[in-house]
Subunit: 137 residues, 2 copies
DNA sequence: GTAAGTACGCACCTAAAGGTTAGTACATGA
DNA sequence: TCATGTACTAACCTTTAGGTGCGTACTTAC
């Protein structure tokens, strides 16, 4: 099942592999992107922004527990990857709006799908965990 | 700290919130599960196991860059959450097989969906990043 | 007059993730 | 006989994610 490296199981070219990205390869840039998207706050920010444009402090209030520093950093990561669009208005009390790019909406949906699944199946998971399901009646 | 508790934005009961899980709530156990699933190696292990049962060292070889320690720990996390089934045969060179539970297959599929999307759209992302797309001809 | 809100940057610090090395108890192959 | 593979654990160390607090340049509201 697990193929020794001597034989290439899939007939893909090197460039095709690079173009596609291969998460199993250690040095693949896709690992970085995955890290941003699945980071502790990245997930929550993406899901939050799926609901629409938010300002910085809106996000801060919505995502329970983020520090300002991490929120800023996460937004910069996601902006750098082309998932988030930052629009700042040069008014005197700062005003900045964050929204998702089309690319961001795409990942966001998949992340949300995962997040929703976990939320919905939480009690099953906790039961499997052996931790008595305290949510049960 | 955040969100005045005085106003409840959504008319859900406390038990419903607990049963469902709410990732935006700081102390919700779903955060833990999400952490395991979206951890650096958790993602890759889940995707790898979707292809079928693997032995420890098969996984180690397949997932580029994992240390034995982290692989073991990740597998224990996922086993603890009821996503992974560990079957050990008490033979003299140790033999252990890892596979997904039905619950695990469910999350795995969503994680794979996300992973696949990133792999496929990698070059668009890298372009958005401003990093010249080195995969282009 | 001052307290609060805005969107951060900077500096410092802790906790946790992650890596490295060694060791185990045998069996098989060179 | 020595090396290698197996599935780990324990001890130790490094790196980084993440948190805390401070400052800012104003404005609005109390």
């Amino acid at each position: 099942m697990n193929a020794p490296d001597t034989l290439t199981p899939e007939p893909t070219t090197l460039t095709a592999q690079l173009r596609r990205g291969n998460l199993f390869a250690e040095q693949c840039p896709s690992r970085e992107v995955l890290k941003h998207v699945t980071s502790r706050w990245g997930v929550l920010v993406l899901v939050a922004l799926l609901e629409g444009t938010h300002r910085f402090s809106d996000l801060r209030r919505k995502v329970g527990g983020v520090s300002e520093k991490m929120l800023a950093q996460t937004l910069q990561w996601l902006e750098g990857d082309g998932f988030v669009l930052r629009k700042s208005y040069p008014v005197v009390p700062p005003h900045v709006e964050y929204s998702l790019t089309p690319l961001g909406r795409d990942v966001g949906l998949r992340v949300q799908d995962l997040a929703d699944w976990i939320e919905l199946n939480l009690s099953s998971i906790l039961q499997a965990r052996g931790e008595p399901d305290r949510t049960a009646p």
